[in-house]
């Protein structure tokens, strides 16, 4: 993602965050109490500012000395003040000399996120530490969401939000129903207190969804400021949010002169509007490199189109803006469009900067809206990436705006289809097969192919076709070129499947499974974080075996049919005359599996894995 988004920081935030040098010592550290007081004030220019005042106490119950690192994140819109600690036997107050450094998230080229950190040595005899500091946010549009979970276990956490009379603040509670802890909420007229106790530590696991999708948190939406009889809307509704975005976009000085000739060239021989739009869209995909920026206001404001065009790189906003300007130049109604990808669980009922993390371009063509995401290399026009599907979009409409949703079709838009027809040849299966890919499956493979040096590509295609399994020999000489858009991604090849036949003279055991998808993919029973696949999954494989003459079928495995709201696993064996067709269909519906579903998943995967090993038994007549 390249859209500036405070939520990107929540992985590190907010009540506290600690790097812990030793896992066993980390287990012995707890937060005994954590108080966060959120308040608001007006600065000398009468602009509203927010203060997050923290008081956090740690207790260490280990016997081995333990060096603890405390990190606090801030950026160009915030400052850390009044950082002090109390420690030692007498809990003496002392200043802290923190180290400040830039912080870089993976995949972000340039960010204004900074890290302030210090170390504290816990000893068995001096095992307590309290720290205090205030994070001042100088533009309340950028106020942080508040999370409760930390990397240490916490005894008690309290969050007090005090709202002055001059401010209307909306608090939005997210994922409060996704935690076992009871969150106590006491609301008075201008004060709200959240408290909860015995909070387990937050975990970090592979393939987990973003924290905003999982952990309970509070989003603070500053709606209005009242000054006497006047009132100033900040984010009272999505219109204000759009207004703020729109002002930023209006301040971009676009100049299309540099690419007028190119646009004319790209569209000149195209016979339809659709072809013209595609030509421009694909040019941006192919020629502009994606580089993520999150620095100051540039985290929200697109770079001008001429810079992106000249540099041949840009972030999503810059690429969307260039696409829009090129399309406009060609006479199309193209508009910038804000969206929160599937990493964010929000919609525009929350008028806040945290709901968006991406920008695309919408083109209106023959009364239809088409969403163009130029960061999706090799993406087909009219097809939407899995991370965008089902999400609301906020589309420019001059002084107004349009809210719409990108259709969600589950995994079927991102399918992996395999068809193979095999004969039995002593102890192996020999046949012809084809693979068809659509959506994210297709773009992922094309991205892999073309990110490699030319001379390595054929090997990759061969290995991909053989499911990266040494037991499959494939004969394939060509792979798709980069013009593979708007066409089926199709690989046709001859295949030998080795080590799948046991020949006991009068009896032959034949295993028809190819790919073994999710076989043995059970989830660790200790895991407590959900699992997310990168996009919805739809796999269908149809494998046909021709029964040789003089042999009859003695055994066909029973079918497997598992279906629930999260996934469908179907393995179907069907005999028609002298053929057996094995059809495997796997669909992961929305790509997220919650911990409550893990037991069921593991039991289903066990069945699936066992069925993968099962065989057809042929007997000599």
């Amino acid at each position: 993602m390249n859209f500036k988004n405070p939520l990107l920081r929540i992985g590190f935030i907010i009540l506290t965050f600690c790097y812990v040098s030793s896992s066993s010592s980390q287990e012995d550290l707890i937060i005994t109490e954590s108080n966060l007081n959120v308040s608001f004030d007006l600065d000398s220019n009468l602009d509203p500012v927010a203060s997050y005042s923290y008081h956090i106490c740690y207790e260490y119950n280990g016997v081995i000395d333990y060096s603890f690192s405390k990190a606090i994140f801030f950026d160009n819109n915030s400052e850390i003040k009044n950082l002090v600690k109390r420690s030692g036997k007498k809990m003496k107050k002392a200043k802290i000399k923190p180290v400040i450094s830039d912080y870089q998230s993976e995949g972000i080229f340039h960010s204004d996120l900074k890290l302030m950190y210090f170390e504290h040595l816990f000893k068995e005899s001096e095992n307590r530490l309290c720290i205090e500091y205030t994070k001042e946010i100088n533009d309340i549009r950028f106020i942080d969401p508040i999370y409760f979970h930390d990397v240490c276990e916490s005894n008690i956490i309290k969050v007090n939000i005090t709202v002055p009379k001059w401010l209307d603040l909306k608090t939005v509670e997210i994922n409060f129903n996704k935690t076992d802890q009871k969150i106590k909420i006491v609301k008075n007229k201008r004060k709200t207190e959240y408290s909860l106790s015995n909070i387990p530590k937050a975990f970090t696991d592979r393939y987990e969804p973003s924290r905003s999708c999982v952990y309970p948190h509070i989003i603070l939406v500053p709606q209005k400021i009242r000054q006497g009889s006047d009132q100033i809307d900040i984010f009272s509704d999505v219109g204000d949010l759009y207004g703020w975005y729109s002002d930023l976009v209006s301040s971009v000085s676009n100049n299309t002169q540099k690419f007028e000739e190119l646009v004319s060239e790209l569209t000149k021989n195209k016979t339809s509007d659709l072809e013209k739009v595609k030509s421009i869209y694909y040019w941006v995909q192919d020629n502009i490199r994606y580089v993520a920026f999150e620095y100051g206001i540039m985290g929200f404001k697109p770079e001008d189109c001429q810079s992106v065009f000249g540099n041949k790189f840009g972030d999503c906003k810059g690429m969307a803006n260039l696409t829009k300007e090129m399309l406009k130049l060609a006479g199309f109604d193209a508009r910038l469009t804000w969206i929160g990808t599937t990493d964010l669980p929000y919609n525009y009922n929350i008028p806040s900067l945290v709901v968006d993390n991406h920008m695309i371009c919408t083109v209106f063509l023959d009364k239809e809206k088409y969403y163009l995401d130029p960061t999706e290399k090799y993406g087909d026009f009219g097809k939407n990436a899995g991370r965008l599907q089902g999400k609301q979009v906020l589309i420019e409409d001059q002084s107004n705006y349009i809210i719409d949703s990108i259709p969600f079709n589950g995994g079927k838009d991102h399918s992996y289809l395999f068809t193979g027809n095999f004969d039995l040849n002593i102890d192996q299966l020999v046949g012809e097969a084809e693979i068809k890919l659509t959506g994210d499956q297709k773009t992922n493979v094309l991205n892999s192919i073309f990110s490699m040096a030319q001379n390595d590509r054929m090997d990759f295609v061969r290995n991909f076709t053989a499911s990266f399994d040494k037991n499959y020999e494939v004969d394939i000489d060509t792979y798709p070129n980069e013009d593979y858009r708007d066409k089926n991604f199709l690989l046709e090849f001859e295949m030998i499947k080795k080590n799948s036949v046991i020949n006991l003279e009068n009896e032959v055991y034949v295993n028809l499974e190819i790919g073994n998808e999710f076989g043995g993919y059970s989830i660790d029973e200790d895991r407590i974080t959900p699992i997310k696949t990168s996009s919805p999954v739809f796999i269908k494989k149809v494998i046909t075996l021709n029964i040789p003459n003089a042999w009859k079928i003695n055994y066909i495995p029973e079918n497997l049919q598992i279906a629930n709201e999260n996934y469908r696993l179907n393995l179907n064996f069907k005999q028609i005359d002298s053929t057996i067709t094995y059809t495997k269909t796997i669909e992961i519906v929305n790509g997220i599996l919650m911990p409550k579903d893990f037991d069921k998943w593991n039991s289903d995967i066990k069945q699936l894995s066992e069925k993968y090993e099962d065989t057809i038994i042929l007997e000599k007549m």
């Binding site: 400052e79 003040k81 830039d102 790189f313 040096a453 090997d459 080795k498 495995p557």
Partner: protein, 729 residues
């Protein structure tokens, strides 16, 4: 002033100071870069005029059109200090999109100098403005790194980069050095190189060793001399130039000895007072290992004497003298290792070990310097009336002794005629008489220890013992029982010969072996019960003991997990049960490292219609999976660490009522001059006995013989795919 305001100001100042420092760094960098620009980017350097790649490399992602590497070993006559300055300039043609992605960002360190230009297909040159660069905390591509600085890098996204562009960048690095600089590098890289020039300038007060091997072009001395610290071209500064062209991309192959097959250069630069500096003849083509041994023993004389005393404290002199030669050598060797480890381990940890507690030494892996080892060992052997020779060897992956150019290529050992064994520098685990990686079967030099340094002392050429697959063995005896779908395993795994060196760090993760050594050398027998005694005695343990016991328990948990992970590399473990290290293998060459373990799994039995499958092939662990390319051809010889055998003896007890089918299919016999994979099966009642033996007969396999190795490896892989059908009787 209000304290809060001061704190605020301090914080603000810190931030703004950081920003200023950053800008200052970049400004300084720019100034320096401009200064070097003429030296490096001078338009008169016609070598860089190449702008096209040959057609034969059209399918390569990128081609280095020309690169120049200039390293100067400089002397500051005013301060009498030496320094090093390197300049690298590369001009690279980007031929496809993957290259664009690869070179899209340029990284540099501001204490040095550097710059980058893009040359468009129409010849237009664009200089990238580095003032817009940003500091990076993330990983930096290897091509921009050097060993000179560890400071932060900056990076910039290169604008307007297209297929067909040429990037032309340079980097300057300088460093004051107090150590030797040793370099062994291949002349080719992952990208083909059309043309390259490597220059070394060597000022006074440096000793310079240089060599070209494997058909790399020779360095030629430029009589005009090189550049001194002030940039003056002077004859007194010796210049060596290597010109090279048409170097294809390095072809990667499994087990390929790079430094023996690819054209390489070796260089070593030593400061005036450094070890092996030579004031009389400061320029040397190669390094004579014999001189290194002589110098090493005399240079480290005092250290050797001191270390010898430490070792003697560990040894019971009286009992040693009563031992036979073999035991005497082994005891001295083990005493040396213990003394060496004690010198490196904190006193607190040592006390714990001696009290019977283990302490993680995973972070304390040491290898003794070979001059110290050889020097001390011969002295101690002499003291205990054993004759010995010094031995000089070089690992085969570096080449041969006559090609040695750097110190890191040389290993000193000791030969004891009475035991007819070679002894090599130890690490934490190496047992006396065991070999070390890469020297088996190589040519070495020996000299009687008393003759070293004498005028009449003559070195003898010897062939070190060849690696023997009969002695380097892994044996796993596996007892398997089946109940329903659960398979239970009880295994006894032994490592012998050179295998011990590879596996000891994984298995001897804690220091039980050190306790064993302490007890052995002190002639104690019941040392391990010390811990239990201590636990019992201390009903209310003091803080120190409490701490230690907790630490001990944690380490034991860790170790169990480590062993489980180790076993899981080869087996599908559902429930890990027990393990024990029966023999630590450090005692002597023939003592094995032995581990027993047990676990169960539901993943080896699957349903096959009304019958069951037993995935028997998987019981021999993972095997090499050769790719299609590897099956087809081999360009270079393959060099294994040593010849070796891997044996599995699997006893499977089938439940009553079940009978196994497909046994014949398990019988494989591939045996040729290079290797063998042989599996046998017998059935006695309900017990199946399956043995597999995989042998790499030689540690070096020529390209011509590769197909024989392939046959063996493929047979072993195919075995892993085998299944038995278990049917009701």
């Amino acid at each position: 002033m209000n304290k809060l305001v001061i704190l605020f100001l301090l914080l603000s100042c810190t931030l703004s100071a950081q920003k200023k420092r950053s800008d200052k760094e970049l400004k300084k960098f720019e100034e320096k870069s401009l200064k070097y620009f003429k030296t490096v980017f001078g338009e008169d350097d016609k070598s860089f005029n190449i702008s096209k790649a040959p057609n034969k490399w059209k399918d390569k992602a990128a081609v280095v059109l020309f690169q120049k590497i200039h390293i100067a070993f400089l002397r500051n006559t005013f301060t009498d200090k030496n320094s090093t300055r390197g300049i690298i300039r590369k001009k690279i043609l980007l031929q496809d999109k993957s290259a664009i992605e690869d070179f899209a960002e340029y990284f540099f360190q501001p204490s040095d100098a550097g710059g980058i230009k893009i040359i468009k297909a129409n010849g237009e040159k664009l200089t990238v403005d580095l003032k817009k660069a940003i500091k990076v905390e993330t990983e930096v591509p290897d091509r921009y790194k050097d060993d000179f600085h560890s400071e932060n890098f900056y990076k910039i996204a290169i604008p307007n980069l297209e297929v067909g562009d040429i990037i032309d960048y340079f980097k300057v690095f300088t460093q004051d050095y107090s150590n030797n600089i040793e370099l062994i590098a291949t002349l080719n890289s992952s990208i083909p190189i059309l043309s390259q020039q490597i220059i070394f300038d060597v000022d006074k007060h440096w000793t310079f060793y240089y060599n070209s091997i494997n058909d790399a072009p020779e360095f030629v001395q430029d009589k005009k001399g090189g550049i001194d610290l002030k940039g003056r071209r002077r004859k007194i500064v010796k210049r060596f130039v290597l010109n090279d062209s048409n170097r294809p991309a390095e072809q990667k192959e499994r087990w390929k000895p790079r430094f023996k097959t690819e054209p390489c250069i070796k260089i070593m630069a030593i400061q005036q007072n450094g070890f092996m500096a030579n004031k009389k003849e400061p320029i040397q083509k190669t390094l004579d290992p014999k001189d290194v041994l002589k110098s090493g023993i005399s240079t480290f004389k005092l250290y050797i004497q001191s270390f010898q005393k430490n070792v003697e404290n560990e040894l019971d002199g009286k009992s040693i003298k009563k031992m036979n030669a073999q035991n005497r050598v082994e005891t001295i060797y083990r005493g040396m290792r213990l003394a060496f480890l004690k010198l490196n381990i904190s006193k607190e940890n040592l006390n714990l070990i001696e009290d019977g507690f283990t302490e993680s030494l995973s972070h304390y892996y040491y290898e003794i310097r070979s001059e110290i080892f050889a020097g001390t060992f011969v002295k101690l052997l002499d003291k205990y009336e054993l004759d010995s020779d010094y031995v000089i060897a070089t690992p085969k992956y570096y080449g041969t002794l006559d090609e040695v150019t750097t110190l890191k290529e040389i290993i000193f050992g000791v030969y004891v005629p009475e035991t007819k064994e070679y002894y090599w520098p130890f690490d934490n685990y190496l047992s006396p008489g065991s070999s070390i990686e890469g020297i088996d079967g190589t040519k070495a030099l020996t000299i009687h220890q008393e003759k070293l340094g004498r005028r009449k002392g003559v070195f003898q050429n010897v062939d070190l013992p060849k690696s023997d697959y009969k002695k380097n063995i892994i044996t796993n005896n596996i007892d398997v029982s089946i109940e329903d779908k659960t398979t239970s395993f009880a295994c006894n795994l032994t490592f012998e010969g050179s295998f011990k060196k590879s596996y000891s760090p994984k298995i001897l993760y804690h220091t039980e072996y050190m306790l064993d050594e302490i007890l052995f050398l002190k002639n104690k027998k019941d040392g391990k019960s010390l811990l239990d005694k201590k636990k019992k005695k201390k009903k209310n343990p003091n803080k120190q003991l409490k701490k230690t016991l907790k630490s001990y328990d944690e380490l034991n948990d860790d170790k169990s997990e480590i062993i489980e992970n180790f076993i899981s590399e080869d087996f599908k473990v559902d429930k890990f049960e027990t393990y024990s290290i029966n023999k630590n293998g450090v005692e002597n060459k023939s003592s094995p490292l032995e581990l027993s373990y047990s676990f169960s799994s539901d993943q080896y039995i699957t349903k096959a219609g009304p019958n069951l499958f037993l995935n028997i092939g998987e019981l021999i662990g993972g095997q090499v999976e050769l790719s299609d390319t590897e099956l087809e051809k081999r360009r270079y010889s393959a060099e294994l660490n040593f010849a070796k055998s891997i044996v599995n003896n699997i006893n499977i007890t089938l439940p009553e009522g079940l009978i196994a089918h497909g046994l014949e299919d398990l019988k494989i016999n591939v045996d040729n001059s290079i290797g063998s994979f042989i599996s046998t099966v017998t059935q006695e009642g309900q017990t199946l006995k399956i043995s597999t033996s995989k042998i790499y007969k030689n540690e070096i396999v020529s390209a011509e013989e590769w197909s024989n190795l392939v046959k063996m490896l493929e047979a072993a892989y195919d075995f892993t795919q085998k299944k038995l059908v278990l049917k009701q009787k």
